[in-house]
């Protein structure tokens, strides 16, 4: 699904290049649940953003399915992004002026989904996330965990192939965090490809694979214990 080859990203200062990512190559298959870990400044978010097509690499190749992303125009990349990807943020980033229902609806509006279909999809997801009673509330009326649930609902409402999450539990209490991670696990089991960035060792174990970044390099790329045990069982 995703193939990165020698991806480099740097900031140029007057005197020198500050490397953010250096020579990162990796492949991710459809259906994987990848966790990117590493200390602050290791380049985790940058890598996620490059995969999510929100940021450009300075060097290297990026293949997404059959598309050569590194050669694509902005517009086409936007199309790919819109079609295949859903995003979840640490700070939720719900639109304050919209209700829960409207926040979840927005991606469908941008994809010109007919009204009847929008309604049934949103009803379904609200039900699935246990948020039916909250549909007409505004984000400020929700707890952090609930807000992030809406964030996840919004990210998946348009049926993306890839879910990208940048520290989705970073602002949450552990109990709320677990709810989100359980949700991710459930989505993964339903076939969703997920890439998340986190600092939390425990939450990393919800996934199938961990990529450790340090100073812009891939330090380690391993299968999680969870995955190993599941593999053994099967």
């Amino acid at each position: 699904m995703i193939k990165l080859t020698n991806i480099e990203r740097f900031h140029k200062n007057a005197a020198q290049k500050n490397w953010v990512l250096k020579d990162v190559s990796l492949e991710i298959e459809q259906g994987e649940f990848v966790t990117i870990m590493g200390p602050s400044g290791a380049g985790k978010s940058t890598l996620l953003n490059i995969i999510g097509m929100l940021d450009d690499q300075d060097n290297g190749e990026y293949h997404f399915f059959d598309e050569e992303v590194h050669k694509l125009k902005e517009r086409k990349r936007h199309e790919l992004h819109k079609h295949y990807m859903g995003f979840v943020f640490q700070a939720y980033y719900l639109i304050d002026e919209l209700t829960v229902y409207e926040n979840i609806e927005t991606p469908l509006l941008y994809r010109k989904v007919p009204k009847a279909e929008r309604q049934s999809k949103i009803a379904e997801v609200l039900d699935k996330f246990n948020m039916v009673a909250k549909r007409d509330l505004f984000p400020s009326q929700l707890s952090g965990g609930q807000q992030q649930l809406v964030g996840v609902a919004r990210a998946i409402i348009a049926n993306p192939k890839l879910l990208l999450a940048d520290e989705p539990t970073g602002n949450l209490h552990s109990s709320q965090g677990e709810i989100i991670m359980d949700l991710f696990k459930k989505l993964h089991s339903e076939g969703m490809t997920i890439i998340q960035v986190t600092h939390n060792e425990k939450y990393a174990e919800y996934g199938s694979r961990v990529i450790e970044l340090q100073d812009g390099f891939i330090k380690e790329d391993r299968i999680t214990r969870q995955e190993i045990s599941e593999n053994i069982i099967s």
Binding site: L54, K82, F87, Y93, I95, D96, T106, P107, L109, Y110
Partner: protein
């Protein structure tokens, strides 16, 4: 999606109440200003538009020229103008002449008690109805003015004199001496028409009956007072035609006449705003003033629009997150642009609907302010509806486009990076600074202009006019008179003198604030070749004393000298015109005044018979001859006790002129009325300047609030480090103060240039002083500082613990 956009826009408006309120107030104020001003401008620009096809209609104005210099310019010019031009140029399809009939009282022949004193009566040719389209109410315009002693009246006169009766065929008696048969009724001309009348009399009465002894009504080059309008064939090059008139005049008369009487054509549609000559039919409009007001009305709205742009872009950081999120969840740039445009459109539409409502409510007040009967019926006027639409569309584009493009350009990666500083990069900063500078240029310019306008008005009013017009009661002569008038006038004067309150009494044919009434081509006696133009009036021996006119040489007209009807007094300008070196040398000069031999007995200092906005003219003040009788009785009072005085004056009047109502005025008020249009201009100008400044300050108030908000953390840190409150206030305000100074630098030359132009329209004008601008700048800066200080002090007083708390 549109519904969604509107919903979000509405929620944004509600959520940001402070900003929305400022935007809304500014836009409404600007729009109301524009609705009013543009209607006023439309009224002025649509003058005379009731007539169809006036593109080929021209008025002939007459210049009296001496040595190549036009010393008098008449709107109602020579008797021969139209007939001579029509006869010699086949391009002239038709022409009409109007000549004003003097004040008179009209009575119904069948009901003697019904009398009416109309303001405007003309003798007019039947072709009036071929050239102009005065709408007929009753009768036949083709024949109504072809017979002598026919009269056409307006609907309102018909109503006044005949009520519900049919006036057609009835007879009106004029001043007990002539009878006119009513042949047609015309609808009243709208206010904005420069040819207005109450009664029209057939011109043939004037030319063939009253002046049957001379043929001059059609051939006299030196007989003025005839309004002449030509209808030319379409596509005629009128300038070319105008240039060929002198040759025709020379052929018809002689070289001297063609050089001293020069005709000009004035396109009919230009007359109201661009013509200000002697004997205009209506007070002319001031095209310059209209343009100024248009500009300033529009400025208020533009400033309000700029506020919107400024506040939207200043808020961009707050909206950036939303933009980023929307982009990440699939929005492309165009749908974001659409969303921001919808927001602008919504704000504009709410504002304009409110403005329309407010304009309706305030219309009577505005009409009262400008003292003109403008139809302010907003919804019946298609033109205005299109103005509203234009304001809305233009407003939406202007206020929406820039913020929309700016905001939609944000890259999600930059704005969503949590605590990253990149989102703090202040986009649109230069634009915003530019707009703030513009607003302050406008504000400073307007303040300075207001100061200059009022200084000029005061200057004119305080100007030593060389006359004492205080405490002077002026009584107009009776309208209906007979052969006994001269005797009665003497009696009246004597009785006025006997009043204990009367310090001085004088008769004259004109009083200050009125036109002189006579223009005369006078020459040195025995040297008729050299003919000079003068304004002239007749007055008795007491005139110079009553009005306290300063004598330079010789003596005033005097009772003691006996028969002074053949004496005259010149002003200094007249002495110059006669090319005499000193006033003393002019004494004893004998001049030819319409065939009378007058001896110059005195020279007076120049004085402003008319307001100092017009230039002083050479003048001859002569004693009454047999053919003149007084038009005004002036009484200089030694008391301010008006009631008692008037009662006794009125009783004297009743005993002598019982047929006539008394008509009087106090001269200082009357004289000041000459400044009505300037005073009005000043009033409107300052009002809208005030609005413009108010709206700019609203914007500034909100902008500084943003700066304070954005720098909250910085302020907190500085306070922790020991910064004083004044230093923080300075930090917040100094950028704006800098902008205001830049604005000052640009505003001064601009304003100086425009105001200099305006001042050039006055014969006596002030010079623009540097301190006007210093004062304007000081006022602008003070207002700005006052506006900013509230916000910056508020920010500076904030507890750093509060502002440094992370969210």
């Amino acid at each position: 999606m549109l519904k969604n956009n509107i919903k979000i826009a509405w929620r944004h408006i509600l959520k940001n109440k402070f900003i929305s309120a400022i935007n809304f107030t500014g836009l409404v104020v600007g729009m109301v200003a524009v609705l009013f001003i543009w209607q006023y401008v439309a009224y002025e620009k649509n003058y005379d538009k009731i007539h169809e096809n006036t593109d080929d209609v021209y008025r002939v104005s007459t210049d009296r020229v001496k040595d190549g210099v036009a010393f008098m310019k008449f709107a109602a010019g020579a008797a021969c103008a139209a007939p001579v031009i029509a006869k010699n140029f086949p391009e002239v399809e038709n022409y009409v002449k109007l000549v004003k009939s003097g004040d008179a009282i009209y009575k119904r022949k069948d009901k003697n008690e019904v009398t009416y004193q109309p303001e405007k009566v003309y003798f007019v040719m039947p072709s009036l109805f071929d050239i102009f389209s005065f709408p007929l109410a009753k009768g036949n315009t083709a024949t109504c003015l072809s017979e002598p002693f026919s009269a056409v009246i307006t609907e309102s006169v018909a109503k006044k004199m005949f009520g519900d009766e049919d006036p057609i065929g009835k007879t009106l008696n004029r001043n007990n001496d002539s009878d006119y048969k009513i042949t047609a009724i015309i609808k009243d001309a709208p206010q904005n028409s420069h040819i207005k009348f109450d009664i029209l009399l057939s011109y043939i009465t004037y030319s063939d009956v009253f002046n049957s002894d001379n043929n001059n009504t059609e051939t006299g080059p030196y007989w003025d007072g005839f309004l002449s309008y030509l209808k030319l064939k379409s596509q005629t090059d009128w300038k070319d035609l105008e240039s060929r008139i002198p040759a025709v005049m020379e052929r018809t008369y002689d070289k001297e006449t063609s050089e001293s009487v020069v005709f000009h054509l004035q396109p009919f549609n230009d007359i109201h705003l661009n013509s200000n000559l002697l004997f205009e039919t209506e007070p002319p409009g001031d095209g310059n003033a209209v343009n100024f007001l248009f500009l300033i009305g529009s400025l208020v709205l533009i400033i309000a629009w700029f506020n919107y742009v400024n506040l939207s872009t200043a808020r961009s950081e707050l909206r950036a997150k939303e933009v980023g999120v929307r982009k990440v969840i699939g929005s492309d740039r165009s749908s974001l642009i659409r969303q921001f445009m919808v927001e602008a459109a919504l704000m504009n539409i709410i504002a304009i609907l409110t403005a329309l409502l407010l304009a309706q409510v305030l219309a009577p007040w505005f009409v009262n302010l400008i003292d003109k009967d403008i139809p302010m019926s907003i919804f019946s006027n298609l033109g205005l509806l299109s103005v509203v639409l234009a304001v809305f569309l233009l407003g939406t584009l202007l206020t929406g486009l820039y913020p929309a493009f700016l905001l939609s350009s944000f890259k999600p990666i930059h704005v969503l990076k949590g605590s990253s500083n990149q989102s703090k990069k202040n986009r649109g900063n230069w634009m915003r600074k530019g707009l703030v500078v513009f607003q302050f240029i406008a504000s400073v310019g307007l303040i300075a202009s207001t100061i200059i306008i009022y200084t000029q008005l005061d200057f004119m009013k305080d100007k030593k006019i060389g006359l004492d017009i205080e405490q002077t009661l002026v009584i107009k002569r009776p309208i209906v008179t007979d052969s006994t008038f001269t005797a009665k006038a003497k009696t009246f004067r004597k009785q006025l003198e006997k009043l204990s309150v009367a310090k001085n009494v004088t008769n004259s044919t004109s009083v200050p604030g009125q036109p002189f009434g006579m223009t005369v081509g006078a020459s040195k006696w025995g040297n008729d070749e050299e003919n000079f133009g003068f304004h002239a009036m007749c007055a008795d021996f007491n005139y110079a004393d009553t009005y306290d006119i300063e004598l330079v040489a010789g003596r005033k007209l005097s009772k003691e000298m006996g028969n002074d009807q053949n004496s005259c007094i010149l002003n200094e300008l007249a002495v110059d015109v006669f090319q005499i070196e000193t006033p003393e040398e002019a004494l004893g000069l004998e001049i030819n005044f319409w065939g009378d031999k007058l001896k110059v007995v005195g020279v007076v200092k120049n004085f402003h018979h008319e307001a100092p906005k017009s230039i002083m003219e050479p003048m001859i003040l002569r004693g009454f001859g047999e053919r003149f009788s007084p038009d005004y009785f002036s009484v200089k009072l030694n008391t301010k006790e008006i009631g008692q005085t008037m009662a006794s004056v009125e009783s004297i009047w009743k005993s002598l002129f019982s047929q006539n109502p008394i008509d009087y005025f106090f001269l200082d008020d009357h004289y000041d009325q000459q400044y009505n249009s300037e005073t009005l201009f000043g009033k409107i100008f300052s009002l809208f300047s005030g609005l413009a400044i108010l709206v700019s300050c609203l914007g500034l108030f909100a902008l500084i609030a943003f700066v304070a908000e954005r720098k909250k953390k910085e302020i907190g840190i500085r306070k922790v480090l020991g910064a004083s409150i004044p230093s923080i206030v300075t930090m917040l305000s100094k950028d704006f103060i800098k902008l205001i100074f830049i604005a000052l630098l640009i505003a001064i030359p601009l304003c100086w240039y425009l105001m200099n132009n305006w001042l050039d329209g006055f014969a006596e004008r002030i010079d623009i002083q540097w301190w006007y601008f210093a004062l304007a700048g000081l006022i602008a800066i003070s207002i700005a500082i006052l506006t900013m200080s509230y916000q910056s002090v508020k920010a500076a007083l904030l507890n750093p613990v509060e502002s440094l708390k992370t969210e």
